[in-house]
């Protein structure tokens, strides 16, 4: 675990600068389900990427490239949004 900040090191009001927001791996709170993809069904519409509230869908250029489980919380929105049923929630 990263060393925790002293009070002197924290910015006024605890403002979180964008670059720092990637540090806490909130995927640790995941519900117990994680998304899994069947790439043969994926049509690269990127609705999952658009809907994901945690920016946990990774892209390679403009192509779907998988999930970032450091941030995915298992909310199932991507699975609901996927128009081809390529995303399935699986138990951890």
């Amino acid at each position: 675990m990263a060393r925790l900040s002293t009070w002197q090191e924290l910015p006024a009001g605890g403002a979180v600068v964008a670059a720092e927001a990637e540090q806490p791996h909130t995927g640790g709170w995941r519900t117990g389900l994680r998304p899994d993809v069947d790439l043969s069904k994926c049509i690269n519409c990127l609705l999952c990427w658009l809907y994901c509230p945690d920016s946990a869908v990774e892209l390679d250029g403009t192509a779907f490239a998988g999930f970032d489980y450091d941030f995915c919380k298992g909310c199932e929105i991507c699975a609901e949004a996927c128009p081809t049923g390529a995303i399935e929630m699986v138990a951890e």
């Binding site: 009001g13 403002a15 927001a21």
Partner: protein
């Protein structure tokens, strides 16, 4: 400029017109209403350019104020009594998010029983919120503090809401000669609004108002302690600068006839003025009496109060607020200065306290803030 006959409410409305903040979200309440009524008239007449937001409650007023102050807009509001009580939840958040909102307060008793007249209970309700609290003696001080307040609030070492209290009716509704500065003088005194992380700065994108677990809550709260401590010297520095432009200086305390006083009264607000008259009268009878007026209640000026009272043998503290079942707030501060009981703060936001911490407290080796991560 020659003095004008103004009530405290009118004088502060003029100060707000001259500061001309960007945004004023506000809800009317007696006895604050003359402040915002006067200011709204200035806006309607085009004499102030502020965006006046007619919110539906004081809770919303402070919520909007936080948003606009952190977006990067100079923001002021005003309230009294029950309005401050409704606002209180959000006042704590304004302080912890370091939103430098300036708030005019017409001090009024809290219900119940319902009462619209003056005491300081409303201020004391948010005593521990982290806001800077100044108490004016008269309309002139209320005006001057309101011009000084944005500089104090926005100072990079402070960045806290500043509340300028004036006694309801006694000051808000009573006319007295008030010397206003020229508009341009006020404008150049307050300068441009600047904060470290304006939300609309797309160059440095920030998320503000974070959730803080036991591993960081204590540290984030402690930054308010530092900001309050810094405010003591910042108020004095701004008072010096204000003296340059106005010829009037308001320090964190004002000792009156204390050099050789044996008996002294400690008090805040308009009663300081009455006390000065009584001191003069008793002095004329050869009595060694004096007054210590406390202008800054938060931060509380420990060193200045102790120094001012060091030769006084009998001290009486007058509180215009009570603490049923405990000690009134100003009294508790003054008595705390004379105490040899050690003070420690621990466990904020769920921080654990361990047996070794208690052993260190017994041994006298524990820091004041037990369990706080700090440098040096």
């Amino acid at each position: 400029m020659s003095p004008e006959l103004l009530t405290g409410g009118e004088a502060v409305a003029h100060a707000m017109r001259q500061v001309d903040p960007d945004v004023v979200p506000v809800y009317p309440i007696t006895p604050q209403t003359p402040i915002i009524q006067g200011f709204a008239k200035f806006v309607a007449e085009g004499r102030a350019q502020a965006e006046l937001v007619n919110v539906e409650s004081e809770h919303s007023a402070m919520s909007a104020a936080i948003g606009s102050a952190l977006a990067g807009a100079r923001t002021m509001t005003a309230t009294s009594s029950q309005g401050l009580a409704l606002m209180a939840e959000v006042v704590y958040i304004a302080a912890s998010m370091r939103a430098p909102v300036v708030m005019a307060l017409g001090n009024r008793a809290l219900s119940g029983p319902i009462n619209i007249h003056c005491d300081h209970s409303d201020s004391m309700l948010i005593r521990d919120s982290g806001v800077v609290q100044l108490f004016a003696e008269n309309a002139q001080e209320a005006y001057d503090f309101t011009v000084m307040a944005p500089r104090i609030a926005e100072h990079p070492d402070v960045l806290l809401p500043v509340l300028v209290g004036q006694d309801g009716f006694t000051i808000t509704h009573s006319a007295e000669p008030v010397a206003l500065l020229p508009d341009t003088e006020v404008q150049s005194f307050v300068g441009e609004y600047a904060i470290p992380f304006p939300l609309l700065d797309l160059g440095t994108v920030t998320s503000q108002g974070p959730f803080a677990m036991p591993d960081s809550y204590f540290e984030l709260r402690h930054d308010l302690v530092r900001a309050q401590e810094a405010a003591l010297s910042v108020i004095e520095q701004i008072a010096d600068e204000y003296m340059e432009v106005s010829g009037r200086r308001y320090g964190i305390v004002e000792p009156y006839q204390l050099e050789d006083a044996r008996r002294a009264i400690v008090v805040m607000g308009s009663t300081a003025g009455t006390t000065k008259d009584v001191v003069d009268e008793l002095r004329a009878d050869g009595r060694y009496v004096g007054l210590l007026q406390v202008r800054s209640f938060r931060p509380f000026p420990d060193v200045a109060v102790r120094a001012a009272l060091r030769n006084v043998t009998e001290i009486a503290v007058l509180d215009r607020a009570d603490s049923p079942g405990g000690r009134p707030p100003l009294f508790a501060e003054v008595v705390g200065l004379a105490s040899n009981v050690r003070s420690h703060v621990y466990g904020l936001g769920g921080r654990d306290l361990h047996p070794e911490d208690l052993r260190a407290v017994f041994a006298g080796t524990a820091p004041k803030y037990v369990g706080l991560r700090e440098e040096g």
